[in-house]
Symmetry: D2
């Protein structure tokens, strides 16, 4: 993750793109990339989406990569690590959705 952050900073700086990378714009771009991931699965049944499918494997990796790239840039803008945010959120979720009394467990 730290290496990715550094690589993204350099990539952006080399192209002089910081001017476009306001958190507002990065959030918009993130939503566009997520839609490209959603697009892969939109007409599949859940069952079909669960199966490995070589037809969209390259697209899948590209879109997951793009989402991670923009998420990392937004987080890094605010000096946050998305992995650390995820861990902290997961701890909250454990309390919000306890195993005991969960209707499916």
């Amino acid at each position: 993750m730290n290496q990715l952050k550094l690589d993204l900073r350099k990539f952006t700086k080399d192209r002089n793109w910081e001017q476009f990378h306001s958190p507002k714009n990065l959030a918009m771009a993130l939503s566009v990339e997520v839609a490209e991931l959603v697009e892969i699965f939109q007409w599949m049944t859940e069952e079909q989406s669960r199966e490995f499918n070589l037809d969209y494997w390259d697209d899948l990796m590209d879109e997951i990569g793009d989402v991670q790239i923009y998420l990392t840039m937004i987080a890094d803008y605010f000096n946050l690590c998305p992995i650390e945010c995820a861990k902290a959120k997961l701890e909250k979720n454990k309390i919000k959705y306890p195993v005991e009394g969960n209707k499916f467990s």
Copy 2:
């Protein structure tokens, strides 16, 4: 990242939620979480979004965390690491958008 993957697998398994976590559903949930991140910035100017603002700091961390959680679960479903996908995509982007000839650099 590896620890996050393991923690998410356990969290899901403990609640018996694998039945809901088809890639199709996870992609939908990801898009919903991203929209909650977008919502923070939607009425701000770009300038305002660039400023540190304590008012939404907790929300920001939570939403970044949620996006990372769902992205990690989709990637892990297919035995992919989102950081590795991001690095691979960044390499492609370097070729697609060379520094030389870039109109802003």
Copy 3:
């Protein structure tokens, strides 16, 4: 539709909100409202989403309304009618996806 446009213009003007309603911001807000519609269906099976369900009926009407509101405001900003745009796009789709040779028809 024309009445809706006029009502939305008045609603916005009365509150002096034109300053926030750039097409960029309206598109962001539209994506947030769509996510609230997606959220209703995200953990349902397709089968469940096909059934009438009183539990979310009010939410469904509200979210469809919100999406139509923002879509109309974006279109109206550019003096377009979304219904006319839909009709024109449908004509294109008829050519792009002919009935003859369609694999499901």
Copy 4:
């Protein structure tokens, strides 16, 4: 709007696509189309998005049309009219955000 509904029903039926058009899938497709509209504006400043721009005019009409198409299909699935939903929601908004005491009016 009524004509659009009828045309969309016929378009779908002729291609035998009802099987794919669960509300869940239509909501996903709607979110993908909205992202294509967002994409037009993502790197623009708000100022730039406010200007008429012939470069993306055709795309803009197409994407507004696509969003209206999917929104209409979701609404029609539940025998709702999106325009009526919008009018009802606007009435709620008038109460929620009164002109008196609004900080911008």
